[in-house]
Assembly symmetry: C2
Homo-oligomer: 357 residues x 2
DNA sequence: GTCTATCATGAAACCGGTTTCACGGCGGGG
DNA sequence: CCCCGCCGTGAAACCGGTTTCATGATAGAC
């Protein structure tokens, strides 16, 4: 009843400019309203607005005028339902509070903000069941594509849920080469970092590793190990302590090493946060960086270059990865292909690992 | 044609378990399919799934069985269109790459991830026109509510676009008390920090300020000024240099002060990032922290406690603010009220401003 | 034993668009 | 001059749900 009344308003009152002030109180303007006002059918309105077919220039103008005058804003939901495309991409994140993953998300938001697509986030909490739920929720929202950041789902598990949807993996590789991925060669990054320390004259390098069930952590461990062995040194278990990518685990790591009386002149941390913690623990113990102990991290997050001394780190361009992922997903949605890229991380040497005199 | 064929599949084949393997190739399962399989009308299916009315237990069971067997996943788009609610909240962000704002976004994602609502992000780039566009896009997506993080739109401008939708402001105040807000008293935070430095014996405190058109920066400036004046000191323009919340501006700020020969024994930075830069510039200039110059920042971002020395800072619980915003928005969507809260930031004193001996 | 209130249920309308389809008009070829 | 094909257009079907409405059945009241 009131609806009908308001509908009439849309057609008549607004046109007469009578109730412009209370416009927001009224029902949303639909293409039906535009059709009525401009004297054509809603099919034609749709055609004009989407440019899907040629229409009489006169009617076209009438429609466009009405659209502007009524302040029409298409209902994306209805568009999506009808067309089968939702103009949104689902993003499966793993909220572990890691600056690296956060930066990827931010890059995605930024990268998508120029396009017609909106990101819809769902969080997998780095747990299998949650990841599946989150993915299902995204698919239920009929996203046009899915970006999976990290996570533990196999690509088979992903495809079971996403079906035909285009999928892009970020910060991880695809086990079956089924999906394109934007990843970083963690093994090589760690190898480089370790080699740098070895070449600087360090023989006893400690490693504070990341979560043991985390792919990236494993790869970094392997790279570390390879560099050590290639240098002709024996791999010493005692030099490796477990961490979990947190700053606190860096503190604990150093404390453990010191308490056990392990000797070392350099530390390679699984990520920058861990390196920060390690650096703090070292300074508490009265050890200087880099004079007594050199430190290298992984990620090169923004803050690292401002540490005292500035922290050497393996640069992972997290934000750029997010932005490139956005770009890549738009390509995939445009039916274009996208080839996986594996970024080669770059070692950034700063004063925390300066060559010893 | 193929559609119809597949529809038949949904009803018959799947039921017989014949083509479970290629299930993902087929059309999505709809409530119509469930209705057919379980021998009821789709109205009844809807009622069962939503619990909107009582249904014969037998039929109920049949529907539930079919739902599970066919792996039904409701089309959220259709649900939204029909019901008028989209189960999503729009988030208007300002991607300025500030850890503070990023952390709020992350908190929102995390806080919303347990609920039925999904966040949809749009970016305003801290520019008026873009903010309006972004807001319009969100409203076009028929979000159920809007969270505005920072930004420069007046609440009148916001309400013009959002109409009746519930709106929550985060990290800013509402000019008209029209909308609830979760904000932080920046003035008081800065006042506290400055007072702490004054009480530690510092008389010449430099300020590296934030963007001059940024509300938070202005408030922090005011707090700084008030503390200085209350202490009976004269306010010296020379001690204040412009910054832009970036680490680089912290470096520049210190360099400018030193180049101009301004004497100071303490620095208050507009945010932690700026403080990091300042700290680096000081150390390059051979000045020790805190012995020669004390440093205090604002935000207390995660990394600050691991700086060398650990950085004193005014704690803004960014991530928690995001989480509380999520909570608050859910309340608002549940028709409940939510009162604005102004958080009182807490000064965290660490070694970078330790009392001089 | 009626009459009425209640209840479960299916048909149909609806949300706001897109897309198919059929029809009338018009131009060109034979 | 007639026929065929193309073009612009409106009607109607459709997307996949929710919600209203009408109906038949059942139960309770008198």
């Amino acid at each position: 009843m009131i609806d009908r009344f308001i509908r009439q308003c849309n057609g008549l009152w607004i046109e007469s400019g009578f109730c412009r002030g209370i416009l927001h109180l009224m029902k949303k303007v639909t293409i039906q309203d535009i059709a009525r006002v401009s004297g054509v059918s809603k099919s034609t309105v749709s055609r004009v607005l989407n440019g899907t077919a040629q229409v009489n220039p006169e009617k076209k103008k009438a429609v466009l005028d009405a659209t502007k005058r009524l302040g029409f804003q298409p209902n994306v939901l209805a568009q999506s339902l009808a067309s089968g495309r939702s103009s949104s991409v689902g993003v499966l994140t793993q909220m572990i509070g890691s600056p690296f993953y956060d930066a990827i998300s931010q890059g995605l938001i930024a990268g998508l903000s120029g396009t017609n697509y909106s990101p819809i986030f769902a969080d997998g909490r780095w747990e299998k069941a949650e990841q599946k739920d989150a993915l299902n929720a995204l698919v239920g929202r009929r996203v046009d594509g899915v970006v999976v950041i990290g996570g533990t789902l196999s690509s088979a598990q992903v495809s079971k849920i996403t079906g035909e949807l285009p999928v892009l993996l970020v910060a991880r590789k695809c086990d079956l080469n089924q999906y394109p991925a934007i990843s970083v060669n963690n093994e090589f990054g760690a190898y480089q970092a370790t080699k740098h320390l070895l070449e600087s004259g360090h023989q006893r390098i400690a490693l504070i590793s990341g979560l043991s069930d985390h792919g990236d952590a494993k790869d970094r461990f392997k790279g570390f190990q390879r560099a050590v062995l290639e240098a002709g040194l024996s791999f010493e278990e005692r030099l490796v302590v477990d961490g979990d990518f947190s700053a606190e685990s860096g503190v604990k790591g150093i404390e453990t090493l010191l308490a056990q009386g392990v000797e070392f002149t350099a530390v390679f941390a699984a990520n920058d946060l861990t390196a920060y913690g390690a650096r703090l623990a070292l300074s508490r113990a009265g050890l200087r960086v880099p004079e007594d102990v050199a430190v290298v991290g992984f990620d090169d997050q923004m803050e690292s270059q401002y540490m005292t001394p500035p922290l050497s780190s393996v640069r992972q361009p997290a934000r750029e990865m997010g932005e490139r992922a956005a770009e890549a997903m738009v390509q995939l949605l445009g039916e274009a292909n996208f080839e996986s890229i594996e970024l080669v991380p770059e070692l950034v040497i700063r004063q925390s690992s300066e060559v010893r005199r």
